[in-house]
């Protein structure tokens, strides 16, 4: 009950900010539409109907149809499921790995810190798109490949931030006190350091979600993401780009959810950051 009350207080603080309210509304809309895609979609997302190709928006097809007659509204809903599952799954995995490696680098011996820093810097030195295309070329286009790309791209950033904060907290009084009372490294890391570093990183992760959505859409647009006929906002964009002169609504159907999701998570993340760390307000 206490936790629910705390969440409710945070929500109320978010909605007091106009951009926060908009962001939260968009995120809730995107999440709910993805969760209830089965119920909301009028057609299976992969059902072909060449006779109905390039139909503009109507009551039968709320966002129109694509070049092989698939219902775009259904594809957008199911595409949201793919985008969010990759965004949440990959960001979650990146967070877990990044936090673990950051804690180890910050709290462990100097030589291990140096090795890990070298690995982080090596990964960060690759341009994201080139790294993504290289990995997908090696592993082949699939959902897992996209997740792998996101994890490899994101982990160094999270790990570096956690490492820096761990280095600071390592010599903090409460940590030294715990150590003098005989607490082991594992307890110090999980009980005394982690709770103090996880807040900012969670906010940062929420702001990374639109980046991950864009990476997935970008790879799918290039034919290197999820495999057809699995709906993806990027592949819808690709279908639409090829026919943009005649049927602009396909690009709109693919592009709009990417824009709304990006705006939603960005506004929400920025509002959360401003609430929890007012010193950063307006600096990014």
């Amino acid at each position: 009950m206490l936790r629910l009350a705390k969440i409710w207080r945070i929500v109320r603080r978010i909605v007091r900010e106009p951009l926060g309210a908009l962001g939260l509304g968009l995120v809730v809309l995107v999440v709910l539409s993805a969760l209830f895609a089965d119920v909301l979609a009028s057609y299976p997302p992969t059902k072909l109907s060449p006779a109905d190709r390039f139909a503009p928006a109507s009551f039968q097809h709320l966002l129109g149809t694509d070049h092989i007659g698939r219902d775009l509204f259904s594809r957008v809903l199911y595409g949201g499921r793919i985008a969010l599952s990759i965004a949440l799954g990959a960001t979650g995995a990146s967070l877990v790995i990044g936090i673990m490696l950051g804690l180890i680098a910050g709290y462990g011996p100097r030589w291990l810190d140096n090795i890990l820093l070298l690995v982080f810097d090596a990964l960060k030195s690759f341009p994201t798109v080139i790294l993504a295309l290289t990995l997908v070329t090696i592993t082949g286009p699939s959902l897992m490949s996209v997740v792998l790309v996101v994890v490899l791209v994101s982990v160094p950033g999270y790990a570096r931030i956690i490492r820096t904060q761990t280095l600071v907290l390592k010599s903090a009084e409460h940590v030294m006190a715990a150590r003098s009372m005989g607490a082991g490294s594992a307890r110090i890391l999980t009980v005394h350091i982690l709770p103090n570093v996880i807040g900012p990183i969670l906010i940062l992760a929420s702001m990374d979600i639109p980046v991950v959505v864009a990476i997935e859409a970008g790879l799918s647009f290039l034919g290197m993401g999820v495999r057809p006929p699995t709906p993806s906002w990027g592949s819808i964009l690709n279908d639409g780009f090829a026919n943009i002169r005649d049927s602009y609504w396909i690009v709109v159907a693919g592009g709009l959810p990417i824009i709304l999701t990006t705006l939603g998570f960005t506004f929400l993340g920025e509002t959360l950051r401003d609430l929890f760390d007012p010193r950063l307000k307006g600096r990014v």
């Binding site: 060449p50 190709r53 940062l204 990014v284």
Partner: protein, 519 residues
Amino acid sequence: MSNIASTNLSRRTVLAGTGALGLASLIYPARRAQAAGSILKVRSYSDIQILDPAFRLAAPEGDITNVIFAGLVVATAGDKWGWRPMAVETIEQLDPLTISFKLRDGIGFTDGFGQMTAEDVKFSIERIADPKNESPYSGDWETLKEVEVKDKLSGLIHLKEAFAPLWTSTLPTPSSTILSKRAVTEAGGKLGVEPVAQSGPYLLKEWLPKQRTVLVRNPDWKYEQGGYDEIHIHPIEDEKTAELGYEAGDLDYTWTSVSSISRLKENPPADTTVVEKPSLAFVWFGMNKAVAPFDNPDVRRAVQYAVDRKAVVDAAYFGAASTSTGIIAPGLIGHREKNLYDYDPDKAREMIEAAGVSGQTVVLDILNKTERLTAAQVIQANLQDVGLNVEIKQNDSGTFWTLGSKDNEYHKKLQMVVQRFSMQPDPSWATEWFTSSQIGTWNWESFDSEEFDKLVVEGKIELDDAKRDVMYKKMQDLMEESGCYVFLTHEVAGVMYRNSVAAALKPNGEPVFAEFKPA
């Protein structure tokens, strides 16, 4: 990603920087265009991988070798298939087995390789014909006996047997290109992407992979001059992308997608001519019988029944193209009137279940192009309907064209492919690639038939059109009966070019770059 927060880069800075870059990109092409002069900018559908005429991989490579190396003769532009002398002053068929030629006196090779001689002709033609060299185009000189050198510039081409496609799909193609014997020998027997001893009206000046190939006028070429100082060839795989590039002013000539032809004809871009040409190319969906589950003939037959060819072609080409009955287009000797197997999903389902492969997942490789992807998705839906799951694997051109090569380990795993071949105006060109000797080269389906191989040879030496017609129809029957092939379409060719360009096109819309001129 997340370290954005730790930098001093503000959103305003990013926006300002992006705006400046955008403005610069608008200004740069305008200035470049003003400075362009006599430059023709064209699109090809794939990048070059090899510039050795004997080992060319795709038509765009042939388009380039045709202008940087002199062939005995070269195809001409126009509404009828024809040729004109290029490296020869005269060429004449003395009898069905003998062709005499005399080279022009003033053709030299670049890089200090001297004058083109009859010895080079002998070397180049016998090099393609020699089975030891494993040229995929050896069939173009199937009945060659030898090239006899009479003197420095003259010689005789002797055939073992008459050769029907000699003047249609052998001599006017890169298979009659003459290379410097010394240059090729010094290069180890094969040329790469940096050609030596060029001899044509243009020279390859620059190749930027995936960006452009630049040809410049050859100052030493004394004969028919090209119309432009430079030709810039941009490899753009997707026709739709090329259309956007054309409309943005980056191209002067491009093939269009079939699906765009009617729109472009009704509403062409400014100062543009849009032309529709009958295509000889053939597109098919193939199954590799060397790889499970397609090593089972019943599975292959089931897939033939399962694919709704009309739906595939209608969806991929928006109704602009018709389904095909084989690999030989209407109007050519050997064109079939109908297919042996038609769409029957119920029968397909039964056969898939009986073969015990229901629920299996198979991989369909395609070139990363809009039309192929659409065709593949309809095939995927058709096969899912009868119990086979299909994973579509999109490949860029560099990867795709080597998938079935024996030099690529993947050829042992390749299961299904949607494929398209260009075509010359003789049926022998179409059947050439499906002989058993082409397995691991161009025959990616591992189709092998002794009868087919025999007919391929006989079809080339038979001069009676009626008899050839029967033979080529039979060859396509054998292909379809094997279960390896689902014939899809011959497409149609859409071409658009600036009104400031006098485009030189073969009857099927393919370019003859050397004959392009400013209008």
